[in-house]
Symmetry: C2
Subunit: 271 residues, 2 copies
Amino acid sequence: MLANTTHLFDVATKVTAGDSRWQGHTSDDYWAFVGPFGGVTAATILRALIEHPQRSGDPLSLTVNYCAPIAQGAFDLDVRLVKANRSTQHWSVELTQDGADVATLATAVFAERRPSWSHQQAQFPGASPFERTLPYPSPAMTWSKQYDFRFVEGEPKFGSAMVTPPNTYSRLWIGDRAPRRIDALSLVSMSDAFFGRVFHARRELVPFGTVSLTTYFHADAGDLAAEDTTRVLAVADAKIFHKSYGDQNGELWSPSGRLLATTSQIAYFKA
Amino acid sequence: MLANTTHLFDVATKVTAGDSRWQGHTSDDYWAFVGPFGGVTAATILRALIEHPQRSGDPLSLTVNYCAPIAQGAFDLDVRLVKANRSTQHWSVELTQDGADVATLATAVFAERRPSWSHQQAQFPGASPFERTLPYPSPAMTWSKQYDFRFVEGEPKFGSAMVTPPNTYSRLWIGDRAPRRIDALSLVSMSDAFFGRVFHARRELVPFGTVSLTTYFHADAGDLAAEDTTRVLAVADAKIFHKSYGDQNGELWSPSGRLLATTSQIAYFKA
């Protein structure tokens, strides 16, 4: 049963409409190391676009560049419809606080998705059912307490010796701690909810920060409504760690085996 | 031997410096279906950033959103340093023609990459040597004549019946037709030089256009100079085709087995 009261995630990503300038506020419930959890920042930006009166169609792609830390408190979102075509829209969003430099820079594409030849090439990774998979004990970070992580494979092994080659692949269920129906907002937030691949590889927490995140949406609002689920089966892996930056690529699947979103990011680390 | 004369690719991606407004020009040598080849547009944007007097560090990530067709002729690049930190820079670039709507919108991150723990998790795909791999006959599009494609696996099979499941994976050498040393500019252009995955899957040409392209650079200028190569071993695959959009993910490797760049894109198709 989904609660009828407002979900913490919806409170955290709440925006107040303006003309081209919208307002938001950081959430103590989704706090990370030195600022808000990047997934919630991305979701807040996407919410401003989805709620924008000029918006048409569904999110197709979102890229978020994390330029500088965001301080606790209010922020402004400068929302701009850069170009609208017959069936696509291109947006840009700049997040600022108190008129200072841009802290987050995002671009998004929305599309009215028309029927076409359809084929899912990637294989559903499969997993033990959510209910029979053990919840991962909540790490110290506030934001991660808002999620129910259930590792099927590749859970973090902190404090043990590194192995060769390091394991950077994870397969896990992710749901909101208080169940919430999966929508585009939760998909983008969950895109950034994997633990840093470098933590898995090195088996330790190291200074880490996502620099740029891109998520592609492969299900529109109708597809997501049809799935009607509160969790995704997520996989993530890394290809390289080099000169202080490492990548991550991930997939978010519905329990029924539909690929809902793919995501990639490049992140800073110190190790 | 590399020619000492100016390479076609460098002519095609030439930019003229302005203050915040730079100029470029489409190239008939890199023309695609209904506009310039998107890889060269992306490389031109990246060149403006690399040549910008305020630029510091190497390209780390580039996202290019193709908003509208670009007409043959001159264009302006509005280049903006959105935020500079101690070791990273965040840029945005808008391409316009004759003061009209934005045709291409890009964001980029540059970074001064410091030594760190380094590990290449992805496996080098390997291939028969370039010299012993057959060149693919040039398709009709002008831009593709500027590249030397040598398929090791997954060459397009136009005009034959679709197979189940369709093959969307390709592994091929890519070099400039007239050899040119691989740099960040050629990497971003080659990121978009794969044939549309939907062409491979359907074994036919269908209306197709990249909507958003993201490339992460895993080698800085020093790393690329050390590789000193004129070709990459490239792999590409797709995960899904649904409601008129499909994805692509790819890797660009040096012949010695170093992962130079990873790339993903979402593209429109009609089928």
